[in-house]
Amino acid sequence: MKYSSRLILKYKHAVLHILLIFFMGIFIFPLFWLFTSTFKPVNTIFRIPFEWLPEKWTLENIITGWNFFPGVSFTRLYMNTMYVTIVAVVATIFTASMVAFGFARLNFKGKKYLFIALLATMMLPSQVTLVPTYVIFKYLHLLDTLPALYIGAFFGGGAFYIFLIRQFIMGLPIEMDESAQLDGASTFRIFLQIIFPLCQPVLLTVFVFSFADNYSDFFTPLVFLNTVTKFTVPVGINMFLDDAGAGNVGAVIAMTTLSIIPLIIMYFFAQKQFMQGISTTGLKG
């Protein structure tokens, strides 16, 4: 009886593995196709019968795509993107944890209402503030500049990250703060030397998500940038899709693949950490 039930379990697991691998294949197929097509000669990409792996590997698509726009290579677009992303991520991590510390540990007038206001901003669709922000940026001379894309990060970088870090700080023992205070440490030192280093796990989560958010942000640069030399990769890809059309499908595929690779690297780099992070702290739309 016991033996046969174990056998059934084993059989069930085998079926489960087969099912999971089957669906995993379907899930991975689009990316697999994109990556392999990058290295196929243009005329074989949509060949019938379908080609699973390139018969002849080539770097032609990447080279054509990289220098497709006259005067602006993708080197420029990646430099712009990396610059914006790095500044935004670093600024988010510092200002968001400062604000989170304020809400988690300090007492001040109106704190309760301000915290509710913070949470309420998560419900407000950014489209409501979009037009006035555009006008404000005009007066600040930020239209068609890269700082337009990261300036928000210097103001806490978004309610969600502040909330996430604040929840984490709330879980840290307050006794540490108190004993440091007795030893004469200032509030700023307590934040910088005790709380901030202890926040490392949640900050890694914030790092990963704000990297992905900023790196793949398409709407903001689409709205605020006009000059091609200032474009980030997402708007560059969009322009590529519009201009290149059917004639240069290979190059489009190659640039699309390259644009996803940094995200995938980031994913595998931090996968374990934030898989745990997200299942314990919950959310992220």
Binding site: I48, M123, L130, I136, I237, V252, I264, S279
Partner: protein
């Protein structure tokens, strides 16, 4: 004592200062200005003139407005349930303790992590175009081509189905929820002779309602704000505006035609719609959301 309070306030406001300043400059002021602009003919280059309810009248008479609303609602009402049910199914399967489960979870979550990027939207466009990879596979198998993207009857449903691919975020939230359910409940239900479906209906589903509720709210809000998918997968809202989402309309009115007053009115209608559905979900939650952990949370 008073000095202490003053110092405390100063320190508190110093730390939340960055956010507070941003909140005033980039939220409060824009919200007020946006509300004002919604009642003007502002076009970015001239001065705004007060025109009362004119924008809202125009909007309700615009076919494009109703079309974009129809597209967005169809998308929301089909994609959110589809998305949540597939994510729940995936979470339940990936909650089974078998070898390599961490690997499977990693793979199934990956699309959600990269899925917001334009690269992925471009990928779908290339895969599903008329001469795209999927159609070349269909032809190789001796089947007929499907016009996924350039048929006004298909394009929206194609975009809805694609959303299944990014089920990972909802799946992880469900997984976290599933792991909170005490195993004893299942064990004693088994002893009482409850079958698999019965256990799902009477234990899993009720215990997950807070998480379903959360995913539902996030799903609706997200669905009302879709932009990249509609703008990129089928170029600029698809053939005959068949996948012309609300935010695409708003974007084009504001930044292509610089009808900024009108676009502000559109933004406020969007806000009211989102508010309505969020409040509706919150109000209805009393009827179906089951909070077992309230006591535990409170004592924390």
């Amino acid at each position: 004592m008073l000095m202490m309070d003053k110092r405390r306030n100063f320190e508190g406001f110093f730390f939340i200062g960055p956010w507070l300043l941003g909140f005033i400059v980039f939220t409060i002021i824009p919200v007020v200005v946006s509300l004002y602009l919604a009642f003007t003919d502002y076009n970015f280059f001239g001065k705004p003139n007060w025109i009362g309810l004119e924008n809202f009248k125009k909007l309700f008479q615009s076919d494009t407005f109703w079309q974009s609303l129809r597209v967005t609602f169809t998308y929301a009402f089909l994609s959110v349930p589809l998305h949540l049910s597939t994510a729940l199914l995936a979470a339940m399967v990936l909650n089974i303790k078998i070898k390599g489960i961490g690997f499977y979870r990693t793979v199934f979550y990956l699309p959600a992590f990269v899925g917001n990027s334009i690269g992925v939207a471009a990928m779908w466009r290339l895969l599903l175009s008329n001469d795209g990879a999927v159609n070349s596979i269909l032809l190789s198998l001796g089947l007929q081509k499907i016009r996924f993207l350039n048929d006004i009857n298909n394009v929206l449903y194609t975009i809805i189905l694609i959303q299944v691919w990014v089920l990972g975020t909802a799946m992880l939230v469900f997984l976290a929820g599933l792991q909170q359910i005490p195993q004893e409940l299942y064990d004693s239900a088994k002893v009482d002779g409850a079958g698999g479906f019965r256990r799902f209906r009477s234990i899993t589903l009720p215990m997950l309602t807070p998480v379903i509720f959360f995913n539902l709210v996030m799903g609706i809000i997200g669905a009302m704000k879709v932009f990249t998918a509609g703008y990129v997968i089928a170029p600029k809202g698809g053939p005959a505006h068949a996948s012309y989402f609300y935010v695409i309309y708003l974007y084009q009115e504001a930044f292509k035609y610089f009808h900024m007053g009108y676009a502000s009115a559109l933004a406020w209608v969007l806000f009211l719609i989102i508010l309505f559905f969020t409040l509706l979900t919150f109000k209805s939650s009393k009827l179906w959301v089951f909070y077992e952990v309230e006591v535990k949370e409170g004592s924390k």
